[in-house]
């Protein structure tokens, strides 16, 4: 007998890691609706990493490699922040400065609507989050390797990669989590749910 406790949670609870979603009024399709955006989302990040790893093979000039990586990282930052996030998962974040000069960071997410064309496709969502999380982790690994192997001249580029891609990652996680909950309460509620599932699973004979 499936437990009904999931439906008692407030419906704004978007789970970050659950494969099965509780909100069933958002039909998920597994086809890719924006192939161009998906391609570019991964293209800039992956080619920046490839150029960084294979720079000696491509060109003997350090400058050309460095400028290429910088351009790829910048294009990737702009594309992910302004285009692919909007199209693929319906999230957006930016900074807004009001009349008094105070800066506000705005994290926006598209409300679940009944229109078919605006729903989030599961395949696109997977591609998006995979690309968003894997690449900054790789750049952090590169940062440590550059530091410890004393290839310090690459450190500027690697730090730029970490900062730009980390910023996008942080921004989109904040968008996903939403403005009402912060990350720690989100994590505790997720762990609490898992714990509860396990204990009730132990109590009831299957």
């Amino acid at each position: 007998m499936p437990s009904k406790q999931d439906s008692n949670d407030d419906t704004e609870d978007v789970a970050l890691f659950d494969a099965e979603e509780e909100t069933t009024n958002r039909p998920k399709k597994s086809k890719i609706r924006h192939p161009v955006a998906s391609f570019f989302h991964l293209f800039f990040r992956v080619s920046a990493i490839i150029v960084y790893l294979l720079c000696e093979l491509f060109s003997s000039s350090f400058i050309a490699c460095m400028v290429t990586i910088i351009l790829l990282l910048s294009c990737d930052f702009w594309a992910v922040k302004n285009v692919t996030g909007r199209l693929m998962v319906g999230l957006r974040w930016w900074n807004h400065i009001d009349e008094d000069g105070k800066s506000h960071w705005v994290f926006e997410s598209r409300k679940a609507s009944s229109q078919e064309s605006k729903t989030v496709s599961e395949a696109e969502s997977r591609i998006f989050w995979l690309g968003l999380i894997a690449c900054p982790v790789l750049w952090v690994v590169f940062a440590f390797s550059a530091l410890f192997s004393f290839r310090v001249k690459w450190l500027a580029v690697v730090i730029m990669g970490v900062v730009l891609q980390g910023a996008n990652l942080y921004g989109y996680i904040r968008c996903k989590v939403g403005s009402r909950k912060n990350l720690t309460s989100m994590a505790t509620s997720y762990l609490g749910k898992q714990f509860l599932r396990q204990t009730t699973g132990d109590d009831q004979p299957s």
């Binding site: 000039s61 400058i63 050309a64 302004n82 319906g90 957006r92 400065i97 000069g101 926006e108 500027a156």
Partner: protein
């Protein structure tokens, strides 16, 4: 004077890619214009972006290369050096300004300082062209004059935006690091000689 507020509903979420590109390009272009004709404008500071500083920094670093690009000694350290000086210098000035109690946000200050490198980048371009002629005292005087004028332009442009954010008795304290920052860049430009 209205501030440009982006609607908080789905209008920016659903705009086309071309609109986004054009909007950002226009914002960058407008800021370049503001640096060329500096006048006090609060609305400019509000929509900050760091694309202009990135383009200018890369251009400046590329032009400050010593030696040919094909040679064995690649100009790697000098390129990274310019990058580090520009960005680290801008961050230091911003921290100084915030510690003095300035009313400007971190990224706004970086944006202003970065965009005001534009006159010095133009000076670098002119110097490289002048260096194609024969070297000599006249050559040096021309470059010196160009660099001094552009240095003054950068200082005027950046203080037009930055000085307002400080209380009156702290303006000089906030402005002198900007002076140093552009002085170091002007020095790098003036002492540049291609091998």
């Amino acid at each position: 004077m209205r501030s440009r507020v982006r609607e908080f509903d789905s209008s920016t979420l659903n705009e086309s890619v071309q609109n986004t590109i054009m909007r950002d390009l226009k914002a960058v272009g407008k800021k370049f214009m503001h640096v060329l004709y500096p006048r006090k404008s609060n609305t400019l500071l509000r929509d900050w972006d760091l694309w202009g500083p990135l383009i200018l920094c890369v251009t400046l670093a590329l032009m400050l290369q010593r030696g040919s690009v094909d040679s064995e000694k690649d100009g790697g350290p000098q390129f990274a050096e310019v990058f580090v000086i520009v960005w680290f210098g801008a961050v230091t000035i911003t921290l100084n300004s915030k510690l003095l109690g300035g009313n400007i946000s971190f990224f706004q200050s970086l944006c202003v300082l970065g965009y005001c490198i534009l006159p010095l980048t133009v000076a670098m371009l002119v110097c490289r062209l002048v260096l194609l002629a024969e070297l000599g005292p006249i050559n040096f005087m021309v470059r010196f004059f160009v660099v001094i004028v552009m240095f003054a332009w950068s200082i005027v442009a950046s203080t037009a935006f930055l000085a307002d954010s400080q209380p009156p008795n702290r303006k000089a304290l906030a402005v002198y690091p900007v002076f140093l920052f552009y002085f170091v860049i002007s020095w790098m430009i003036l002492t540049f000689t291609p091998q």
